[in-house]
Symmetry: C2
Subunit: 431 residues, 2 copies
């Protein structure tokens, strides 16, 4: 593949951005062939800086729900932009949007808008502490809840005080959760949970109903707030909070990424049980009351309510899963596709350092399919059966190509270093 | 003034948003007549939900630098929007923007982009700790650096651990700063400073060069990072970091609000002295690499470099200051306008509970001029001499009206409660 312009951009970036790139969209922990820069996006496709097109199973790591530059959402955004965006006060669309969300999400009695996913998880933590007057917050080991000092997975620049009141339990293990709740004594403010286990590098797991119900019961018993962090999965599993699928309603839920189909918006939803605490916070941001992303969210939510975007995406996800599974079997690979089929992760058996997964992702990339070797992926509602057929055909060829060069594969040095740092931190922090 | 729709929106909001509104754009701590919701913005004007127009001296609390919906910036944003915004990787415009900033800001060797002002101040703190391996951070008492748990001015939901490693000094008092530095011993990571003292409720003050130079010397001596928080004032005082005006270059500077003329973007700039620390952080956000605000910033920065927007804004600010000063004198008011004239705060003598300031702001509002009674304001570069004439004429009438009803004024109960809470917190935190 052509990489001339990408290489030139990377070289320029290295001078004016630390390491040339940072954060979740850095390709340093990806196979060397992955392009860093993208020129253009439309529907389910992205074009790199050298003009090459990919069917994009990352969907901008979540924001792309309906398709890049969805005409309906973009028209709503453009209408609002012709009036005003960030002004000296919010637009009436903020009230419309809050009412819409309260109408759609069972547990929600109120909404507070912000920008980053981290804003909403941080606000949830503060609201729970303000509401309960207690301090300890429980998180599942290995779960991602943002990149502020209290939650970033790579704790450079973090001091022990940032996490002194956090405690950890094992996702889907009700006894582990209960033990952590008991250990918190009378000082438990909140229990955080992802809608499903969507940690990087490992098989995903849907929530065990027994665990989710125990979480609810323990919060009811202790007065702690139950927080479901929907930032990644919101409205990709259900048209309500994801835990409605297992019959559990949280007190707080955190949303972001796809809520305005790519426009910058996140929000915290809460029940009346946490209204006073949330209302006591002073939290804000320069662009939190911007009207354009809110208008885009109102239209995105209309499409969520009125179309079969969800059933369509699940059907395509199932079809992708079946097609790749059959192809992997034909070529003799143990290939694990876990998580909801519309938010899959794909991992190879007997691949502890991910060298096989990396090679397969590279082979997909050269065939015009962008897959991630260790992070959950996303299907977009604009994808078609033809897109899935193309991905499955590419997958079949990619399995064959990896099989042919399997003995020559070597581990990624970047990934090896990351894994070592991560396990060192995990040993220290979770000891 | 008509308030029917605003009242109806407020009543609806009260049901679906805690207290109906939150954060810096809430009008609860403003005079009762201030509208909460705005329908439209253009140039220097905003229209409330009841269709009434105001000349807006808040400029969205900063983001409006050139004029709402500036045609040049909006065209740049629209061009980029037709390509892509939030994608699976950044656009090449990120590199262009980083190069532009490094070219414009003397101390900057690199840039990292984010969304909120709080993102950039939080990243500065983490980068300084990562770079130095030290922990203590010095802040000026009363300065605003964002609304996360470590810095929000109203600490509901905050635990003592969030601020255990912060220490405070008096802005513009070099000896107070030096004492705080000495007290930090060998554990000082960073010294934060605003470009000028722009705290709420009090007279503003430009930086004393002796203080700024001492800050630099103390950081050089101890190895700590000097951080200038330009989020509010960036490119409103200079076409470089504001402290270039007093001949001091920081190691890190935090920018936001006006950098893309209203599009959501903030960033951290740093010198090579802090590149390794910044590069070690894992910080990120779903929309941090969005291309549209970056394209808007590139055009905003071009206008900053190539036009007299700054000199024009300062000239209008001076003219406003002179006109209001003369009017206040005519009516016998002690009226203090402090800070740079393009970012003024306006306070009355003998007005400890701000009842006079509130009344004057109300009288300005009914005359179509939106001023703030206790927060610094902002002029926009699109304002004209005619706008300023109108504001001065309204000011003259407003002084007369306040004089006529001065004996009937009462303090704002909301403000009184806020001041009590603030001084209680200040006593506890700064004891």
């Amino acid at each position: 593949m052509k990489r001339d312009r990408d290489r030139e951009l990377k070289a320029r970036a290295l001078k004016v951005i630390p390491n040339g790139m940072y954060g979740h969209e850095s390709v340093r922990p990806l196979p060397a062939g992955f392009p860093q820069f993208f020129e253009r996006a439309e529907g389910a496709y992205i074009w790199d800086a050298d003009g090459q097109r990919y069917l994009d199973f990352m969907c901008a790591y979540g924001p792309n729900l309906l398709g890049y530059r969805d005409a309906r959402v973009d028209a709503a955004a453009a209408r609002q932009a012709s009036l005003g965006d960030t002004m000296t006060g919010p637009s009436p669309v903020m009230v419309d949007l809050a009412e819409t969300l309260v109408g759609m999400v069972t547990h929600a009695d109120w909404a507070m808008f912000c920008k980053n996913g981290t804003d909403t998880t941080s606000m949830a933590m503060m609201a729970a502490r303000a509401q309960t007057g207690k301090r300890i917050v429980l998180l599942a080991k290995g779960a991602y809840h943002g990149a502020a000092a209290w939650c970033t997975p790579h704790p450079a620049g973090v001091v022990p005080e940032d996490r002194a009141l956090l405690r950890y339990y094992d996702y889907n293990d009700a006894d582990s959760l209960e033990a952590a709740v008991r250990a918190a004594g009378d000082d438990l403010a909140a229990v955080f949970a992802s809608p499903f286990k969507h940690d990087s590098f490992v098989d995903q797991a849907l929530p065990d109903p027994a665990y989710a119900h125990r979480a609810r019961a323990l919060c009811d018993e202790t007065g702690a707030m139950l927080v479901v962090d929907e930032v990644r999965a919101g409205f990709r599993l259900a048209r309500d909070c994801s835990w409605s699928l297992v019959g559990v309603q949280p007190d707080l839920s955190c949303w972001g990424k796809a809520m305005a189909n790519g426009q910058p918006l996140s929000f915290l939803l809460g029940s009346d049980r946490c209204r006073v605490g949330a209302g006591s916070l002073y939290v804000t941001g320069s662009f939190w009351f911007a009207a354009v992303p809110m208008a885009a969210a109102i239209e995105t939510l209309r499409i969520i309510r009125e179309t079969d975007y969800l059933e369509h995406t699940i059907r395509l996800g199932d079809r992708l899963r079946e097609g790749l599974s059959a192809a992997a079997m034909r070529h003799g690979f143990g290939f694990r596709q876990t998580g909801p089929s519309q938010m899959p992760i794909m991992l190879f058996d007997d691949d502890p350092d991910l060298r096989v997964g990396f090679a397969w992702a590279e082979e997909m990339l050269v065939r015009g399919i962008y897959v991630h070797p260790w992070h959950n992926m996303f299907l977009a509602a604009c994808m078609t059966d033809a897109d899935i057929d193309m991905a499955v055909a590419a997958g079949d060829e990619a399995f064959a190509a990896v099989k042919a060069r399997r003995d020559t594969l070597t581990p990624s040095p970047v990934l090896t270093a990351m894994a070592a740092a991560r396990s060192k931190y995990a040993r220290e922090a979770l000891a």
